[in-house]
Subunit: 457 residues, 2 copies
């Protein structure tokens, strides 16, 4: 009998201490079962990708997506659905770009390329010049105007494959896309060809925003596929005489009116305390914006649907937000902040999913220590759903503006191994998304926002 | 100054305690960098999938794969490469199966189906009969001979989507494929149509072994796609009058001679202590055997290559093993045990990768408590490479025979969300494998076998 008592006592103590977690765990299981069995996220994503397609800010498709996701939020059972006006960057690619390398012997090697977002066009005759390969900015600065002037700069900075988290490698090469054209223009370059920011070698060009510097000329800039970059680099190492030609037809128009799309469940106890969750609705125009970031949008919608379907009433207000213009302006995120300030809203927590709908591995947290501690106390609850990594770090560029209000921020960290094979590229299509991975991300996000809605931070 | 001292002291203490882990961490980083930068695993997999193709035991392709992987091991720099003879199950599918549902109004619904592995054929006229849908074995037993006799049993047991680890759902429905035909035959069924063991709804039939019971007739058995299963179930719920027809042309031949393929690095200090690592070389015949289990094979080969390329000399012998006949006989694994016993080999550890080349999440361990404790001490080392889950559980059916020798066993546990969309199905092709995910699995496997080679268990 003694043995039984000694074995029961710790169990009793444990059960008292863990009642809250057990109840939480039951609610989260209910949410998870609802999502894993009845999610509409995948079908909503199919609609966004296949019925609408790419959703560049200011485009007709983006507007269709606004109406479509508002309807999805209504169908999901949101108490309120509304559109939040914002002006957005309106860049258009125009006719598909062309380009090639011409060797001295007359051989033409066609390039898989695309204009960088927000870049200027070459003009209708295109641009033909000799090419200087640049491995990094130090090399650019060393060579300077004497070598660079009048040339096309070919930035060939590969993503470092030895980083296990691919976002670290992306961080290292981001500047070449973001600032490479401006820095090359400083030395008189006439154009830029950028090795695509991709983790693998293939034929897809990856677009993305470049940011000009008003002190220097705006020069046309394209990304070429990693396969082309490898080939071009080889020709240059072999001292082949060559010129590059490319023609882009893009144009930056006046800002256009658009919307963030918002659907919410009103909190039952503290309706004024707002929790935002979602992703960005705009996408680049080359693929279908499936992983980036249709996934984050449909996960946000699914959280509303699942809570409603499972009859779970959050104490605080949960808002699914589809931000507009993340890719090439960030103006939806800023409009969201402006409205929050204007309406004196109390934003206690925001969670963004903008790293793909891959299998979830963690959350990155940007919040006060006391808040982080509270979240760490929920770690075990997430582990049942595959989330083990709660780390400090960036969260999401749409929600980061809310830091100004003291809002605690988090970003979903899905597995990153496949992301940079398709990021901003033509292969970011519906077929690249796994239904279960997408749903499992939604499960963890739902668990997180429900816990915050229940306990605050 | 005091402040500096107090902050240095703990650091010093920490550095003394963690020197071993730091050195280990440096070696593992070296291995990881080698694999993530220069792995040949993906190209070897491309060869297995695209130049050879499916590798059913006893087939000409399986023999080609034996020779090809032996060459890969030599190219990887293995000290010794040899073929270990084994007799293997030799089942052939024959001409592609056909089948349909015929409604009373004459409408024909064609089925996507395939014969189950090791099953008997229908005969050249095929099989046409009425269908009884069975949801589970309880229902089968309840209905019994009176209802079942003369019919085609349609097992419609879906994978449970609420399990986060999909292998749990697979475990629940495995028996319907493994024993369903035998159990239906017991009650006089003339054939079986099985809902494919798939986690999603699509058009692919998933094959896999069925195991007859000598006490009952061997009846023909096919898997139909989950989409067809849903459709058929709907017709039956609507009380539609219908019959099913299918024709299979498979045949179980005499066992055929084949080989396990082995390449090893001889241990520098304890060469007689053997560590085995790898996967199975045979595959089902519908796809290309990419995730199942070309991935495990090329990961095993890559470990040999990376250790050699990084000039790391393991103290104990590391053997990459490509087992033959895992899918429909398991005879390679048994031959490996028999040879180990005959040669009085000392097998201290075996690690199998047979759950796909997806991003690694953990290892399942089957070993003594003292060994498990030692492995748990390495947990932090794995976490840098994404492996957080060290659990108890099954490891790999090829290596489990080694338990008889007291060998500590482990299985790689990759993320399982996508596996059962392609397991044993036509879409298990090279394109379904991510290069970085595959390599990251190899990194963790290499780290594990290197640690065991350095410290034993």
């Amino acid at each position: 009998m003694k043995r039984i008592v000694t074995s029961i006592l710790p169990a009793l103590l444990f059960s008292i201490c863990s009642t809250a977690q057990n109840n939480d765990s039951l609610v989260i299981k209910k949410i998870s079962d609802e999502i894993m069995s009845h999610s509409t996220a995948y079908e909503n994503l199919r609609y966004l990708c296949k019925k609408i397609g790419p959703r560049l800010s200011g485009s007709a498709n983006a507007q269709k997506a606004v109406l479509a996701t508002a309807k999805m939020l209504k169908d999901a059972g949101a108490d309120t659905v509304y559109l939040q006006p914002c002006m957005v960057t309106h860049w258009v690619r125009g006719e598909k770009e062309t380009g090639y390398i011409k060797l001295a012997n007359g051989t033409i090697h066609k390039l898989n390329l695309c204009a960088l977002g927000n870049s200027v066009a070459t003009g209708k005759n295109g641009l033909q010049q000799s090419v200087i390969e640049i491995r990094n900015f130090d090399e650019l600065d060393r060579l300077g105007e004497q070598v660079i002037k009048g040339k096309i700069v070919f930035y060939n900075f590969p993503m470092n494959p030895t980083y296990i988290g691919t976002f670290l490698a992306y961080r290292d090469c981001w500047d070449y896309r973001g600032y490479g054209p401006a820095r090359a223009a400083k030395y008189g370059a006439v154009g830029v060809m950028l090795r695509s920011l991709a983790s693998n070698i293939d034929e897809f060009p990856h677009t993305g925003t470049t940011i000009y510097n008003d002190s220097f000329p705006k020069i046309p800039a394209v990304a070429i596929s990693t396969k082309d970059a490898e080939w071009l680099s080889l020709q240059l190492r072999k001292k082949m005489q060559l010129t590059a030609y490319f023609k882009t037809n893009c144009q930056l128009l006046e800002d256009a009116p658009s919307f963030n799309v918002i659907g919410e469940i009103r909190g039952s106890a503290f309706p004024r305390e707002i929790i935002s969750v979602g992703g960005h609705l705009d996408s680049w125009d080359l693929g279908e914006g499936a992983q980036d970031d249709g996934a984050g949008c449909v996960q946000g919608i699914e959280i509303i649907r699942a809570l409603k379907a499972a009859s779970i009433k959050p104490k605080r207000t949960i808002r699914a937000v589809m931000f507009m213009n993340e890719e090439n302006g960030g103006k939806g995120g800023r409009a969201y902040l402006a409205a929050a300030k204007k309406n004196k809203e109390q934003h206690i927590f925001a969670l963004e999913s903008d790293a793909g709908g891959f299998t979830p591995r963690g959350f990155s947290l940007q919040m006060k220590d006391s808040e982080r501690e509270k979240v760490m106390g929920w770690k075990k609850l997430f582990e049942d759903y595959g989330v083990y990594q709660l780390t400090s770090g960036g969260t999401g560029s749409d929600i980061e503006h809310l830091e100004e209000l003291g809002t605690a921020l988090a970003g979903l960290s899905p597995d990153s191994q496949r992301y940079f094979e398709l990021h901003h590229a033509p292969n970011d299509v519906f077929e690249a998304v796994s239904e279960r991975e997408l749903n499992l991300g939604a499960v963890n996000m739902a668990a997180f926002v429900w816990l915050v809605s229940e306990y605050g931070l």
